[in-house]
Subunit: 200 residues, 2 copies
């Protein structure tokens, strides 16, 4: 286990790098340490790195009419990036903040572009990453549009148990697009339902 092993495991879900390609990949990465409350990205900046989380977890939010709207969370063993800002070179509306002390591996935009030219495996990896993020974004939109807050909550429990375990309720409520009071009501209702079921 070294500082690259989590990333290698992650990448290998999508593509297989040769040892030589992987050594090049490693040599491009910058290791970085962040304190709780520090930012990877702030609203208005162009996202200039893809960031892999070795340690720590992050919240993504946008300021909309003075209120923080939480749109994502990310944990160790995954990437966290505003990929659409990264590829379009347009300013981001995301703030990405560390929720605890964190260790990261970062790859700069220009380095990734060079990597694309170095080997077809990078093109494939880039394609699969973009597809993966697209699916995530579209599914989140559809979830917000088609499902009730209670359905969204149940889906979150099922799909992202780490969020339930490690993220404070106020941010979960924001992520679900509801007020903290509404989340409390949903939780109460579901617990009562559970109570009834377990009495059967």
């Amino acid at each position: 286990m070294d500082e690259f092993s989590q990333l290698r495991k992650y990448v290998q879900q999508f593509v297989i790098f040769t040892e030589e390609e992987w050594q090049l990949h490693q040599s491009l990465l910058t290791r970085r340490f962040l304190k709780k409350g520090e930012f990877i990205l702030r609203q208005g900046e162009v996202c200039d790195h893809v960031t892999f989380i070795n340690k720590g977890h992050f919240r993504v939010y946008s300021l909309v009419e003075g209120e923080e709207l939480t749109t994502n969370f990310a944990f160790e063993g995954n990437y966290i990036t505003d990929y659409s800002s990264f590829v379009s070179r347009q300013p981001s509306v995301d703030n990405i903040v560390a929720m605890d002390d964190a260790e990261l591996l970062q790859l700069r935009y220009d380095q990734l572009q060079s990597a694309y030219d170095s080997s077809p495996v990078w093109q494939k990896f880039g394609r699969m990453m973009a597809e993966y993020i697209l699916i995530f974004v579209v599914q989140r939109n559809r979830n917000m549009l088609f499902n009730t807050p209670e359905e969204r909550y149940l889906k979150l429990i099922k799909d992202r148990p780490k969020v339930m375990e490690r993220i404070p309720q106020q941010y979960i409520a924001s992520y679900l697009g509801i007020k903290p009071e509404s989340l409390s009501r949903i939780r109460k209702r579901l617990m009562e339902k559970d109570g009834i079921n377990s009495n059967k």
Copy 2:
């Protein structure tokens, strides 16, 4: 000018295929004709093709609580596809309907997967398409979230003049996330403002 020339022009914005690669691309395509009102895709189906429009234009909508919510339009010289359903192999929530008689070029999912293995240029093309669609989806979301209906309307006039010229008002209103009456009010207000400006 043959039936492939518009597509070739489109593709060359992103990548350059060699003559041999392009001949292979052409040989994989199926030409298809649709009448006004016919569908490329219906809600609940897995999107099994990427579709390039040689002739005609299309509306994309989802049924949400019995109402049609229009989410996109596409015109000749562009692709129209639920790419997230296509890559994830999950059922779509999109209906894609022809707004006039149309001519299409389609590529099946399994054919595209084989093409990816045939040459790195395909991987690059696939990456750039996925990135392009991701940017479009994220920008649309942000537009809906951060901008007022009037700002969205002005942006549409600026960014997509074809929509203004060729799409009925009721669908434009739906695309902007507002009622047709609200769109009428916005248009009236802007025309009055224009009147004042031109009197200066």
